[in-house]
Amino acid sequence: MSAICRSRRNQRGAMMILFTLMLMTVVIPLAGLAIDLTIMYIVQAKLWEAVDGAGLEAGRLIGTTSGSIQSLAVQACQANFPSGYWASGPVTCTAVYNPGNVSNGYKYTVDVSASVTAPTLFMKVFQVPGVIVSSSAEASRRPTRVVMVLDRSGSMAALVSTLQTQASAFVKMFTPNFDELGFVAFGNTGIVGYPVKNPGPYNFNPTDTTGGPDTSFYSQQGGCCDEVYAINQMVSGGATNMSEGLSLAYIELQKAHYRDFGLTNVDITNNVIVLFTDGVPNMFSAYLNSPDQQGNAMTVAGYPVPNVTSPGNSLLKTRPMPYNTPYPAQQAGSSECKYNYNYLYPNPVSNNQSAGNANGITLATAQAAANQMIGIIGSGCAPSSFTCNFGLVQMASLDTSYGGGSGSNAWSMHWIGNDEGGQTLTAIRNTNPVTNCNNLGNGHATNPDFSNGGIPDVASIPPWDLYGNLTTDMVDVTGAKQGHTVSSATSFPKTTAYSGTIGTNDGNNGVQLNIAAWNTVDNAANRIRSDMTTMKVIIYTIGYSGNGGTDDVLLARVANDPKQLTTYGSKNSTAFNSSQRQGQYFPASTSNAIADAFAKIAGMVLNLTR
C-alpha cells in the first residue's frame, strides 16, 4: 500500500507538467496559427476587394488615356486598402494597361496586382514576423458598337422628352473614343440622326466608309452635334416605319464594320441594335417604279442593298386626273412638297406639265439619275382600327430647287437615312453648325393623300420592301409559317390571312398593308440576326405600352428572346432561333420602367464585352 501511495505521490504534478507542455507546444501554437491564419485570410479578402474594385474602376476607363487608367487603378487599390489594416504593412499596388490590337483580338485589359505584409501575433514566437499576401485582378473588355433605333411617331408626343433623357443617359454609359455609337429615328421614314451628315441622299452602300457609328458620340461639352445632342433634337410625328429603322441601323453597323475590319474579316466588336417603340408597325418603304426588283446582293454580310436598274411595273394606280394638274399641297406653296402629281405615273415624260420645272423632275430623270423612286406606303392606322385611309404617304424625288439640299441631287421629300426634307435640319447637317439645331425630323410634308380624303395610290403590295425584307409571313425555324398570326397587339388582324393584294375597296381598308408592315419588321430582324458569320448582331427591344399598346410577341421575336416560348403565347413557341444571337425584350409601362430597361441593356452590353 505504502509503495502504491509513494508511487502516486511521485506522479503528482506530472499532468500539470504535461498539460503545460501541451499548452506551450501544441495548444497555443495551434490557436495562434488559427488566429494568424484567420487574420491573414481577412487581409487576403480585403486585398481581393482592393484589386477587384481597382480593376472595375479602371476597367470603366478602358479606351481613355493609359495614364489615367493606370494611375486610377493604383489610387483605387490603395484607397481600398487603408493604411494599417489589421496591423498590416503598407500595400503595394501596380497596374498595367494593355491596349487591344489585332494579335489579341482587340481585347483591352487592365491588370491590377497588390501585395501586403500581413501581421502575425503568435507566429512571431517562431520567428515569423509577417506573411506576404498578394492578389491580382484583370478587367477586360472589347469595343462595343451600338445603334439605337428610336420611335418618334406621333403617339410619342407626350413621351419623347422622357425618351430623350433616358436614351441620353444610355449613351453616356459608353466610353467615347472607344465604343462606337449611332442613332436612327423613325416615323414615316427612318433617319440616321447620328453620325450627323450634310443634307443629301443617303448612301445605302454598306461599304461607304464615311458612315456608320463612330467613337465621337459624346463630347461632354454640350452643344451641337454629338449623339446626345442629336437625340435631343428628335420631335414626334408620323407613323411607325419600324422596318426602315431596323434596316438603316443594320446598314449603319455594316458601314462601321467595313470601315474597321474590311469586307470579310470577322468583327470582334459586339454589334448591338437597341429598338425602342410605343406602337405597332404600320408603314414601310418600297420602290414605286420597280417593285419587282429586290436588288443586287451588294453586301458586307449578306444583306441585300437596293439597286434597282429597270423600271419594271409600277405599284401606282393611274387615276382619272387631268394632266398638268399640280397637287394641292404644291399649290399651297409648301416648300417641301415639290413634286408634281404627274410624276407618280409610270410614264409621265410625255405628260409632264413642266419639263425643266424647278419644282421637280420627271420619273425618267429620276430613274436615270438614281434608279430609284421611293415611296412610303402604309395605313397610318392604329392597330385598333383599320378603317382609316391608307396608301402612298410620301415619295422621294429629286428636286433641284431645294434650298437646304446639297445641289442638284438633294432629295426633297424623303431623304431616307438622312432626314425627311425639313430645312430646319440644315444646321444639324452642316459640318460646323452652331445655331438652329433643332427639330430633328420635323417639317416633313404631311401626307397630302390622307389630308385630302384618302386617295389610294397603291395598286398592290410589293413582295418586299425597299431593303429586301419580305412582306409575307416569315417562315420560322421549324418550317411552319407564323408571321403576323402570332401578334399580341390589341385588335391586330392576326386571324386575317395575308394576301398581298389590296382589292378594290381599298379606300378604307388598311389591313393588308398593316400586316405587310408587321411582316417586314419580323423579316428584317430575322435577316439581321442571321448574319452569324461576320457581325453576329444582337438585338434588344423595349416596348412602351402606355400609348395605346405595342406588340409583345413581335418585339420578343425581333429580339429573339427565349422568353417568348412561355411568356407571350404558345403559338409563338417555334419562333426562338437558337442558332442566332439571343437578345431580350423589355416591356415597359412607365417611364421608370423605360429607364430600367435602358440601364439593364447597357449592363448586358457592357458585361458582354468583359
Binding site: C5, A31, I35, T38, I39, Y41, I42, A45, K46, W48, E49, A50, D52, G53, L56, E57, R60, L61, T64, T65, G67, S68, S71, L72, Q75, A76, Q78, A79, N80, P82, Q166, A169, K172, M173, Q220, Q221, G222, N592, A595, D596, F598, A599, K600, A602, G603, L606, N607, R610
Partner: protein, 234 residues
C-alpha cells in the same frame, strides 16, 4: 491515500477555474472567432455589392429598388446579417470641374458653380438596417438635411430633390453645399483629372463607393465591439 480533508478541492478548483478563466476564455474565443468570420462576411458583402452596383447596372441609372437587385443583395448579404443586422450604402461621387459644372447649369467662362472644385454626391442610397455606431469610412460627410438613414428627404434644403434611388439632380449636385462630400474624401487618394500629366479621374467619370456596416457579436464584459464595417471604391 488521499487526505479526506482535501476531497472536493479539485472539483472546487475546477469550478472556479471554469467560471473565472475557462468560460471567459471560451466566450472570448467564440466572440472573437465569430466576429472574425463576420468581418470576412462584411468584406465579402462589400465586394459583391460593389460588383453588383457597378457591373450589373453600370452605376448610372441603377435601379436599387429593383426586385432583382434587392433579391440578389439579400442573398449575398445573408451571412453578414443583411438586411436585419447590416446596412449597405451605395454612393456615386463625381468631381465638379468646368464641364460637369456646365452640365449642371453653371454659367460663365469657365463655368462657375457653388461646388466647383469639390467632390460631390450624385447618388447616396442606404439600404438595410441602420447600425448604431457605424461610421461610414473614411468618415465622409453624408448628404445633409436628410433623414435618419443619411439619405436626403424629398426637397431637403441641403441637397435638393432626390428620387427613390437616392439620385440627385445634376444641377443640385454642382450647387447644393449639402451634397459636397467634404475634405475627408482626400483620404481616399482619388485625384481629379490633371491635364498636364494626363492622370486622374477623367471629367464626367464617377467614383462608386460602397460601405457596409454590420452588428457585431458582443458578450458583456468579454467582447465589446461598436460595429463591423468595410468600404471600397469601384
Amino acid at each position: 491515500m488521499r487526505d479526506p480533508k482535501r476531497r472536493g478541492n479539485t472539483l472546487i478548483e475546477f469550478c472556479l477555474v471554469m467560471v473565472f478563466l475557462m468560460l471567459p476564455m471560451l466566450l472570448f474565443t467564440y466572440g472573437v472567432g465569430f466576429n472574425l468570420l463576420s468581418q470576412l462576411e462584411v468584406v465579402q458583402l462589400c465586394r459583391d455589392a460593389g460588383h453588383l452596383y457597378v457591373t450589373l447596372n453600370y452605376g448610372q441609372t441603377v435601379s436599387l429598388s429593383d426586385p432583382l437587385f434587392t433579391s440578389v443583395l439579400t442573398q449575398i448579404g445573408a451571412s453578414a446579417g443583411y438586411p436585419a443586422n447590416a446596412e449597405v450604402i451605395f454612393s456615386k461621387i463625381v468631381y465638379v470641374d468646368s464641364a460637369t459644372c456646365a452640365l449642371g447649369g453653371g454659367t460663365g467662362s469657365p463655368p462657375s458653380c457653388a461646388n466647383s472644385g469639390q467632390w460631390v454626391y450624385e447618388q447616396y442610397y442606404s439600404t438595410g438596417t441602420k447600425i448604431t455606431g457605424f461610421t461610414p469610412a473614411p468618415n465622409l460627410a453624408t448628404p445633409s438635411g436628410g433623414t435618419g438613414t443619411g439619405t436626403c428627404g424629398l426637397l431637403a434644403p441641403g441637397c435638393g430633390a432626390v428620387d427613390s434611388q437616392g439620385t440627385f439632380n445634376t444641377s443640385d449636385s454642382v450647387s447644393k453645399p449639402g451634397l459636397a462630400v467634404g475634405a475627408n474624401f482626400s483620404q481616399l487618394g482619388i485625384s481629379s483629372y490633371n491635364p498636364d500629366t494626363a492622370t486622374g479621374l477623367p471629367s464626367g467619370q464617377a467614383v462608386f463607393l460602397v460601405q457596409v456596416g454590420a452588428t457585431p457579436f458582443n458578450v458583456t464584459g468579454v467582447v465589446s465591439l461598436v460595429a463591423l464595417n468595410d468600404y471600397a471604391v469601384f
